[in-house]
């Protein structure tokens, strides 16, 4: 009765050997080079007096923040894309980041003396609630065409964003909004970034869930057929994305398009085998955000351009290219 028993009668297919690790190692080295560059690029001359302290107070925290936030947001994009079966969804096109921002503002207004950990929890909770709203709306949308899904997310995000702005105007926090949410690593120093280690746990959890996420990426029906508790996985995945977005928003601000560009480029090059793609997505996220931050730091020294602005430019171009490509393929 079992299929396995008569396997001998069928010529075994040529199995792909273990994927060569050389390209991954090269990508790792390249990323490492960017990370090292990030440690040594800046206005302050590290050879000057107090250079060592400066290194530990700003450069190391900033670089660690780049690594953590970059990989977390890229992985978040990947998770959302699997859960919605849509290539265009990521935390800033699903409203997740906007909800996190609303949560952050609320925490500032209602609990002015709260610490960064409390703000992080509130922002993550708001992000979770908002993403569940997005998922619930998607379930009711009849036409789930490729482009309708991100449009729904962007619209929901815009509504929440307006609310946040209104709230900020009426509480005199408007000026803060701009600097908060324009994602930037300028203000990341020792004592400010440590909560970001939480997102490392998010990345680790994604590795554990990789196979289940691949199955979920085939849709509710196929997942149910394969015995996967689909709704539970959606909840869990959404929670992971919410934590990553909430924490990143509190510490750094929005990092637009990161979760969109990186997973899609990786999928284009390698297909959608999630388990073997995950290291690539992590590295890609780190490399892209670090490269953009380096550009932002150097184009008009001694001033800085926020990384979100550079990412926005790169990301918007990539987004358009992707839409065109998907339309060509039908």
């Amino acid at each position: 009765m079992t299929l396995a028993t008569d396997a001998a009668t069928v010529a075994p297919g040529t199995r792909p050997g273990r994927r060569p690790v050389v390209p991954l190692a090269l990508a790792g080295l390249l990323t490492l080079a960017l990370v090292v560059a990030s440690l040594f690029v800046g206005v302050y001359d590290l050879r000057a007096d107090g250079g060592g302290d400066m290194f530990l107070i700003t450069r190391v925290p900033r670089t660690l923040a780049l690594v953590l936030a970059g990989s977390a947001m890229a992985v978040s994009g990947l998770v959302l894309q699997q859960l919605t079966q849509n290539r265009f969804v990521e935390p800033t096109t699903s409203g997740t980041s906007e909800w996190a921002a609303l949560g952050l503002l609320l925490s500032v207004i209602l609990l002015p003396s709260a610490g960064i950990a409390t703000r992080m929890v509130i922002a993550s909770l708001a992000a979770f609630a908002g993403t569940m709203v997005f998922m619930a709306v998607l379930r009711r949308v009849q036409v789930r065409s490729t482009l309708v899904v991100p449009v729904v997310g962007i619209m929901l995000g815009a509504v929440v964003s307006s609310l946040t702005t209104l709230l900020a105007i009426s509480t005199n926090y408007l000026q803060l909004l701009g600097t908060w949410f324009m994602g930037s690593f300028t203000g990341v120093v020792r004592g400010q970034y440590e909560v970001l280690w939480v997102v490392a746990a998010v990345c680790a959890a994604t590795f554990v869930l990789a196979d289940r996420l691949t199955v979920a990426g085939l849709g509710r029906d196929v997942a149910t057929n394969l015995g996967l508790g689909y709704d539970r996985l959606v909840l869990l995945g959404t929670a992971l994305v919410a934590v990553a977005s909430g924490v990143t928003t509190v510490v750094v601000g929005f990092l637009p398009f990161l979760g969109l560009v990186v997973p899609n480029v990786v999928a284009l090059l390698r297909g959608d085998d999630l388990r073997s793609n995950l290291p690539w997505v992590c590295l890609g996220g780190v490399a892209l955000v670090t490269a953009c931050d380096l550009v932002g730091r150097t184009v008009r020294m001694p001033f800085e351009v926020p990384v979100a602005m550079v990412l926005g430019l790169v990301g918007a171009a990539a987004f358009v290219a992707l839409v065109l490509r998907v339309q060509r393929r039908g």
Partner: protein, 253 residues
């Protein structure tokens, strides 16, 4: 055995199914036939636990499809729906490997690989196994989906219009493979077919439905009569003797 006991479903005001009482015996090929909107797919999807019934109870091999543990059920019962649009860019082999998920939870073992090889061989996909799904023709892709369901290695296999979008050649070879799956692998295959003559040529049992009810159950010879088919399809049908099995002719009213 698959049993349906008072199973009913309505969509809003539209009465879609039932109440249906039906027993589908273990082994062989059972074809669900009937006009559009007869409730065939609804019934199949409820049996395959992808859709909840409003009333009644379904058991497959003794397991209640609503209350059984999902993982256990996934080792007994596999279902393939009619429309499958996967965004994921997977190779044929990667897709078929996912069929092993209930057994391996993603950690593919030697046994899993063997089952994947068997399923690929069974559907003649060995040469295509490293191609991406989006590089295949519709017929090849349909074969890959069926291979995934076979790799799941369940006793019961439900298929909603597996011949959809297949041309004559590929439809015939698909039906022949499903017949072989029942005969050689001992599976219980239940499928929705649009073309009554395919049911006549390949099925052991035909279940004819109209308006959400099961109207006739029997062997192809029992169901393939002028009176039954004209009634079920609401159009004049003449049954003639074909090459070893009866054929329904209905092209000119």
């Amino acid at each position: 055995m698959i049993t349906l006991d008072g199973v009913a479903k309505t969509y809003g005001d539209v009465h879609a199914l039932g109440p249906v009482d039906l027993e589908i015996p273990t082994g062989g090929v059972t074809a669900l036939v009937g006009p559009n909107g007869a409730g065939k797919s609804t019934m199949l999807t409820i049996v395959g636990r992808l859709l909840g019934a409003d009333a009644g109870r379904v058991t497959v091999g003794g397991l209640d499809v609503v209350t059984a543990r999902p993982r256990e059920l996934a080792k007994r019962l596999a279902i393939l729906r009619q429309e499958n649009h996967f965004v994921a860019r997977l190779t044929v082999r990667q897709l078929v490997q996912l069929g092993r998920f209930p057994h391996s939870q993603g950690r593919i073992t030697r046994d899993d690989e063997a089952a994947v090889d068997t399923a690929l061989g069974f559907l003649d996909l060995v040469d295509l196994q490293h191609r991406f799904l989006d590089e295949l023709s519709g017929g090849q892709r349909q074969r890959a989906y069926v291979a995934m369901v076979l790799a799941q290695d369940t006793e019961y296999v439900l298929l909603d219009e597996p011949l959809n979008n297949l041309d004559m050649q590929h439809a015939v070879s698909m039906m022949a493979r499903l017949r072989r799956a029942a005969d050689e692998l001992g599976k219980t295959v239940v499928l929705v077919v649009h073309d009554i003559n395919f049911a006549s040529a390949y099925a052991d049992q035909v279940v004819a439905m109209t308006e959400g009810r099961v109207r006739y159950v029997g062997t192809p010879r029992e169901v393939m009569t002028d009176a039954v088919l004209s009634d079920v399809f609401a159009t004049p049908v003449t049954v003639v003797e074909g090459p070893g099995y009866p054929l329904a002719v209905y092209y000119r009213a």
